[in-house]
């Protein structure tokens, strides 16, 4: 089986600071990967290098059998990599429905033979909002939303691009127990539809129940990668991360 | 050959003197734009305001223009602190600095210029001081005191700012504000207060730069606009917020402009700064000393 995402020896420096140091990572199609690590361990930098927000200096990232090195973020979105941001970044001047319209117009439409009619677009926006339970707020603005609704909008917008891979960057931080379950259920549903998910999270309960596999980053290095229950027992992981 | 060598040496000397003065004009922008990320395009307007105050008091009471500007420091500081407060409440706090904040400073620049035209007219004004006129000669080189005195004053000002920023608690807090607001809060310093102090300082520096300007050349209200390109070119070329970088970039621009004016005519000088700015933005956006 060939991997959907293949990160090969990726290194990223900021001045003298090495944020990522020779990271290797493979993600299989339909897999649910949990990515954990202490603050500042390089998780977000890795996400940014995969999504094209940052360009890695050495090593390479390939997706769906093709290299994406040197491609801008929007081109990678077109290829099928979508992300949600750690701090939600909605388009403040647009209604919820219009927020979802952007990826439909700029990503889905650029792929062949999809969504040409105006009514298709509206129906699709509604469907997506329905999926995250925000259908009754389609015409409202992001400023009217609660924290958890904002996270859902963020995920819905990522999903609107119809990605093959979804990277959820700490989409549960600061939420209550039941809200976390809400978001988890949503991510599981998406995965069951055939979307590969990388979940970056601090909340171990969520990561453990969601992930098929767990990778651990510490100070820009991957120190463990395997079955969740094995990884959390790995002495190096315990020492570096969980035991602190 | 001899004549053009003579010209070149003199052009370089004049450029160095001019460059030191440019550094004084840019110092304020290096603080506001470089460290605080406030795009104060009205800065040259405050410089010209400083020139006119120096002119007004010099002509009416015979006070030395540099002394006037030093006496004016608290006034300009207060003005700067006030402007920052308005800017913070109206734009920065609401996340609207990009569009409206810029329009606000543009409005201020414009209002200052037009108000000065209304009060003083569009004629060139100049100050009187003992050192305007005579020159000293060192070998081939002519050093007019009109340029030398502002150069020395500018370097002194520049040194004082550098010492303030690197040696005092407030100064270091200003540096910190440009790098890490969180760290600053951990130091129990209010970032808004620090930024207000820093912005006040940047405007206070404009008062001195204004006095130096009117010693160097006669001033009319629209002269400020010529400095916008220069000031931001130096600031970017020097690497945003770096004081030593600013000084080097200012001296460089001074020399290049002076050589251009000597060999191609003074009417081309204003284009040099802009060309340099565009080249920097295109090839070395991190500045000369940047990585």
């Amino acid at each position: 089986m060939s991997a959907l995402l293949h990160v090969d020896n990726v290194t990223k420096r900021f001045g003298g600071f090495i944020a990522l140091d020779g990271i290797d990572l493979e993600v299989q199609p339909r897999e649910r990967l949990g990515l954990i690590g202490p603050n500042g361990s390089g998780k977000s930098t890795l996400v940014n290098c995969i999504c094209g927000t940052l360009q890695n200096e050495s090593g390479s990232v390939s997706f769906d059998g093709q290299t994406v090195d040197g491609l801008a973020a929007h081109e990678r979105t077109h290829r099928g990599i979508a992300r949600s941001f750690q701090l939600p970044r909605p388009f403040h001047s647009m209604s919820l429905a219009d927020n979802l319209r952007i990826p439909l117009l700029y990503t889905v439409r650029t792929r062949e033979g999809m969504l040409h009619a105006h009514s298709d677009l509206n129906a699709r926006c509604h469907e997506l909002l329905e999926m995250v339970g925000l259908a009754n707020k389609a015409q409202q603005f992001p400023r009217d939303l609660t924290q958890v609704e904002m996270r859902k909008l963020e995920l819905a917008r990522a999903m609107a691009a119809e990605p093959k891979l979804l990277i959820a960057d700490e989409s549960m931080a600061g939420l209550s127990h039941s809200e976390i379950d809400d978001i988890l259920a949503l991510l599981v549903r998406l995965n069951e539809r055939g979307i590969t998910v990388i979940l970056i999270e601090h909340i171990m309960r969520a990561v453990m129940s969601f992930s098929h596999r767990l990778a651990v980053l510490v100070s820009g290095k991957k120190i463990a990668d395997g079955k969740p229950e094995d990884v959390v027992r790995d002495p190096e992981v315990v020492r570096a991360y969980l035991g602190q | 050959m001899d004549i053009s060598f003579d010209l070149l040496i003199n052009a370089i000397a004049a450029g160095l003197l001019l460059g030191a003065f440019y550094a004084a004009v840019t110092a304020g922008v290096s603080i506001s734009f470089g460290m605080l990320d406030i795009v104060n395009i009205a800065h040259p307007g405050f410089v010209i305001l400083g020139s006119y105050l120096a002119y007004f008091i010099n002509i009416n009471y015979g006070v030395d223009p540099i002394l006037v500007s030093i006496l004016m420091l608290p006034v300009f500081y207060a003005l700067g602190a006030l402007i920052y407060q308005v800017y913070y409440l109206s734009f920065e706090k609401r996340g609207q600095e990009a569009l409206r904040g810029l329009a606000f400073f543009f409005g201020l620049l414009f209002v200052t210029e037009v108000a000065l035209i209304l009060v003083f007219g569009v004629d060139y004004r100049y100050v009187e001081a003992a050192y305007i006129g005579p020159s000293i000669h060192i070998g081939l080189v002519d050093l007019p005191l009109r340029m030398l005195v502002p150069c020395v004053a500018a370097l002194a000002l520049f040194g004082a700012i550098q010492i303030f920023i690197t040696r005092t608690f407030t100064g270091r807090a200003i540096m910190a504000v440009s790098q890490d607001q969180l760290a600053l809060q951990l130091m129990a310093a209010d970032p808004i207060r620090i930024k207000r102090i820093a912005f006040g300082l940047s405007i206070a520096v404009a008062a001195v730069a204004g006095a130096l300007l009117i010693i160097i050349q006669p001033v009319e209200p629209s002269v400020g606009r010529e400095y916008i390109g220069r000031v931001f070119a130096i600031c970017v070329l020097g690497g945003l917020g770096s004081m030593p970088g600013t000084l080097i970039a200012a001296l460089l621009l001074g020399i290049v402009e002076s050589i251009t004016a000597t060999f191609y005519g003074p009417s081309w000088a204003p284009a040099v700064a802009f060309g340099l700015l565009l080249l920097t933005l295109a090839f070395r956006p991190a500045g000369l000393l940047g990585r």
């Binding site: 094209g52 927000t53 801008a72 973020a73 929007h74 081109e75 979105t77 979508a82 941001f85 970044r89 909605p90 388009f91 001047s93 647009m94 219009d98 319209r101 952007i102 990826p103 700029y106 439409r109 650029t110 917008r157 609107a160 691009a161 | 734009f33 795009v39 395009i41 109206s90 609401r94 609207q96 990009a98 569009l99 409206r100 810029l102 329009a103 606000f104 543009f106 409005g107 201020l108 414009f110 209002v111 210029e113 037009v114 108000a115 209304l118 629209s222 916008i228 390109g229 931001f232 970017v236 005519g265 009417s267 204003p270 284009a271 802009f274 060309g275 700015l277 565009l278 933005l281 956006p285």
Partner: protein, 318 residues
């Protein structure tokens, strides 16, 4: 209302204005209204980049002057009718807009603003040193008394007014069409959050370059007939401060989020200035515009349109 319908309505309104002006036929009125129309085009062009994308252009005067000097150049080099000059100016200023954007838009947003500010100074330096287009002394362009058009003789100022009216219609229809198109949504994402826009698949650099090019081209077109209008073009009049400040102040005072804002702002400020130049000095006049700009950005961030919307909302609530 779709774009075709809107275009038809503006054409009807434009024709009515033209017919009224022709019937009234006072030269001064043509001169004054031409200036207001010119400001509507400039304000609308500025707003396509500034209001829709959130990128500030301080160099409106430079783009306007590029249009005007393109006409002067063509006048000496190979005289063309004014409608063709519109196209020449659009190309020259459009390329300049594209170039400025390409050099600075990959960096932080404020660099673009600073570069446009310096652009005016440098272009003025170039023009002052360029003898072919008159240098610092300026260039005379003798305006014909009248022009033959489909067998009828039209007063030349009326002809210029008509052309500017047509350009205004094109600018307004374009601005409104952009607002409702995919491009308009792309512009709005750039104003709101560029990082999120990229993540949604918006090619932000390309979208911004489209904006700087369209905006620059319209500013250039606004300047194309100017030498014929003024008769004697000097660098200081083509690069006049009033263009830079008005093209920012008008949308800011009217409201930047839709095509209506710059239109209202330009009509109000434009007519007020036309009236005031007669009664008070032009400096006082510009001072008032500057103070209004500062006051509006502080007190009414969404301009007159925002104020009206706010009142309507407050009216409905209780």
């Amino acid at each position: 209302m779709n774009t075709t319908k809107f275009a038809l309505i503006t054409i009807v309104v434009g024709a009515a204005v033209m017919a009224f002006a022709h019937w009234y036929s006072i030269d001064y009125l043509f001169f004054a209204s031409y200036t207001i129309l010119q400001f509507i085009v400039l304000a609308t062009a500025w707003n396509i980049l500034g209001g829709y994308c959130g990128y500030v252009n301080f160099g409106s005067a430079a783009f306007f002057a590029m249009g005007a000097y393109s006409s002067v150049f063509m006048h000496k080099f190979y005289p063309l009718p004014i409608p063709a000059l519109f196209i020449v100016s659009a190309i020259v200023s459009g390329i300049a807009g594209f170039g400025m954007g390409y050099l600075t838009l990959r960096l932080r947003g404020s660099f673009f603003a600073i570069a446009t500010l310096a652009l005016a100074v440098v272009l003025q330096t170039l023009v002052v040193n360029w003898e072919y287009v008159g240098g610092s002394r300026g260039a005379y362009i003798i305006r014909p008394e009248s022009i033959e058009f489909a067998g009828i003789t039209i007063n030349y100022i009326e002809y210029l007014f008509g052309l500017m009216l047509l350009l205004t219609i094109i600018a307004l229809v374009t601005a409104r069409a952009i607002e409702r198109s995919q491009l308009g949504f792309g512009f709005a994402t750039i104003r709101d959050d560029e990082l999120a826009a990229e993540a949604c698949g918006v090619p932000t650099l390309r979208v911004k370059l489209i904006a700087t090019t369209i905006s620059g081209a319209f500013m250039g077109m606004a300047g194309a007939p100017f030498p014929y209008y003024i008769g004697y073009l000097q660098p200081s009049s083509a690069f006049g401060l009033e263009y830079a400040v008005n093209s920012i102040a008008m949308p800011m005072i009217g409201g930047t989020t839709s095509w209506v804002g710059p239109l209202i702002g330009a009509i109000l400020l434009g007519s007020a200035q036309q009236y005031a130049t007669v009664s008070i000095s032009s400096e006082v006049n510009l001072l008032i515009v500057g103070l209004m700009l500062v006051a509006f950005v502080i007190i009414a961030p969404n301009g007159l349109i925002g104020l009206v919307q706010g009142w309507r909302r407050a009216w409905r609530k209780p």
